[in-house]
Amino acid sequence: MTNEPLLSVRNLSLQVARTGVEVVKNVSFDIAAGEIFGIVGESGSGKTLATRALISLLPAPIRVIGGSVAYKGRDALSMKVPQLRRLRGGEIGVVFQEPMTSLNPSMTIGRQLEEGLQLHTKLSQEERRGRILAMLNRVGIRDPAGALTSYPHEFSGGMRQRIMLASVMLLKPALLIADEPTTALDAVIQRDVMELMVELTQAEGTAVLLISHDLPMVARYTHRIVVMEKGVIVEEGRTADLLDAPQRAYTKKLLSSLPFRGPTRTIDRTKAPMVSARDIVVDYGGRRSLMKKTTPKRALHGVSIDIHEGEVVALVGGSGSGKTTLGRTIAGLVRESEGNIRFGGRSRNDDWMDYRLNCQMVFQDPYSSLNPRMTIVALVEEALRLLPDLDAAAKRKRALETLEEVGLGFDYAGRYPHELSGGQRQRVAIARAIARRPKFLIADEPVSALDVTVRAQVLELLSDLQKRYGFSCLFISHDLGVVEQVADRVVVMQDGRIIEEGDRNTVFDSPKEAYTQRLLSAIPALDHNAQGGVTLKWRLEN
């Protein structure tokens, strides 16, 4: 055996054909057989395009303008179509981010899995069937024989990603390209799928090229890592070294943007809570239409929660846990079927206007939460519309001041949302929410659509504002890392019920429930060191 790498990329450069913008510049890296190799970068770093180029699957406007890709010593960029097709699937397999759209919705699972085997092997039909069943079994599909004749929509996201993995690993490729393979999945499922992927590839001796924005996750599974920013590799090295002693400013910035445990604050909980929700039950879809009666689905089973003055309460749980429904019920966007909500000691039904004026919300998706046809300043000003004691000039002044406060200067005022980046839009949404000086803010996944470095800035902004104005906050998130940074108290939900709650330190350091433990095992505890590096410690691991 020589030391020739499995895949060798040299000075790869990509360009958008029409505009001439270089989206990937001089990227070089090697992957050895059987190795797990990571590429980390934020959106726009070119990491996905760079890997698509390896098997000539670039989207139409992008083209290769320089460099080489050698797979087992063969030039992969100039390969003829038949050779290239043997390479794709047979030698190099790909798993994409979106399990919901990566499987053909109108073709049975069995047919889709068989396709690759038919193309790349000479197995008989029975042999193919046997292999598929064995593989489905191995990736944890409960009824493999039944799955063969099922369609993708009959499976959950996590199951579909397992099927994707099965479809790729069936062909025993030498290299697996996994592009954000678990980003669309719930934290708990994320971990299971990653472990499965590592186990399968190690067993077959398959090398993995793992691409993600999630540095801790990549660090956990890889031997070596490269960090990309704006189409360029800024740093590369052994994973442990890179984390411990980062050399480049961008890497340090990435590491320092990782969430860490915020200071422990003392909250006065002797007074009556600011917001108090009691025995909230929410049923969905129990409508009787002309045609049929649909049985209601219970989203919340009698949930109670208190939020005190100046307190940040985090609501955590996976998708379907009911955390968003609870937040929206408290915001008054979902009508509770049973239970009551009190604000400032009074039932909120007594004075809805008072509640509306004092309770504001920041939404998850900054692309959807701002009316695209209004200017930035008009968006913030609208929040002041119903304030009785401000005239038009004062409202404009307040809006501009608030924008300034969230870091958007005067020249942003006249722009429209589509002219702003995601982080800037979320700042506008925050400005809109706090312009009225509310006593209570609901933040529903406010940073989960943002890149790592932007996320850190927005979190910092939120906690600065919270300190300055002292509003209470219900912070809803699936990301426990973020929660550890901002929350005073943590409430864990599962299947429409609260299963655990307590002070942040208590819940994070000694979780009682198995579900909480599983959630926590998906995120690392960080120790920052003097060189700007970090040590990742995975919780609850032996």
Binding site: S289, L290, R328, A331, G332, L333, W352, M353, R356, L357, C359, Q360, M361, F363, Q364, D365, S368, S369, L370, N371, P372, R373, E382, A383, R385, L386, A429, R432
Partner: protein, 272 residues
């Protein structure tokens, strides 16, 4: 970013030509379009009559110009009628939801269950075959499509977070509807209204061709084609020019509609 495409340019030129002809036809035409000229019947195109004369010796170009006016007028009124009715119905239906929505949409779907021009034919039987009968009939026939599109837009907008944000701010339903929902429906309404203008002109000429539209001697492109049909072998121009006018108008509208859709449809915008 390409703001305006080649398609949009050609479309705009064709539509501008249509509007100019219609405006011109309002004030001036080479000859009196109604004046009979028994000495100059079925004359081929010449320097005196650029597009020839018809079986009564009337100047074809003059009649086409006046016909353009009729097409634009009927198209505009029909689209206005359908847009106003359809938008109101769609807004109310999408915003009210519940049983109001169910009832409105049931009626709407029933009207949509009449294929295209058939409902217009039925309504013409009621209103009588004349210019305003056509406008009413087509307006009623097209309103349900507009209502469905607006309702769809309203329903999908309602799911957007900025509508919820407006609710959380304490804004009333009417305010939210006119400040946040309606302005964001403008794009689909514009796209559909553009196509409707084309449908209206096509349907008007088809109905006039059938003899159910604007009655002769007032010229429209459709009834000119119908009148020219028996003479088509001797006088090809009678069958050629009115049809060409309709086809170029429709081509202009289709191209402009495509350009508008590419520009206004947010799904397409995201792709660039």
């Amino acid at each position: 970013m390409k703001n305006f495409t080649f398609n949009g340019l050609i479309g705009s030129i064709l539509i501008a030509a249509l509007l100019l002809s219609a405006a011109l036809g309002l004030f001036w035409s080479p000859y009196d379009p109604m004046k009979l000229g028994f000495t100059a019947r079925l004359e081929a195109p010449s320097s005196a009559h650029w597009l020839g004369t018809d079986e009564f010796g009337r100047d074809v170009l003059s009649r086409l110009l006046v016909g353009a006016r009729a097409s634009v007028w009927i198209g505009t009124l029909t689209v206005t009628f359908a847009t106003v009715c359809g938008t109101l119905i769609g807004l109310v239906s999408g915003y009210a939801r519940g049983w109001i929505d169910a009832v409105i949409m049931a009626v709407n779907n029933a009207l949509l269950a009449f294929p295209g021009i058939l409902l217009a034919l039925g309504l013409l039987a009621v209103f009588g075959a004349n210019q305003y009968g056509i406008i009413f009939a087509l307006g009623i026939a097209y309103s349900p499509s507009m209502a469905r599109v607006v309702r769809g837009a309203v329903l999908s907008l309602r799911e957007r977070e900025f509508i919820e944000a407006s609710k959380v701010m304490g804004n009333g339903e009417l305010y939210t509807m006119f400040r946040h929902i309606l302005p964001n429906c403008v794009a689909p309404i514009t796209v559909l209204a553009t196509s409707m203008f084309g449908w209206a002109i096509l349907s008007e000429s088809a109905l006039s061709f059938l003899g159910l539209g604007v009655p002769p001697p007032a010229p429209t492109w459709g009834n000119m084609l119908a009148a020219g049909r028996p003479f088509i072998e001797q006088a090809v121009w009678l069958g050629l020019f009115p049809g060409l006018a309709i086809a170029l108008t429709l081509l202009g509208i289709n191209l402009l509609g495509d350009a508008l859709r590419d520009k206004l449809d947010p799904r397409m915008r995201g792709l660039k």
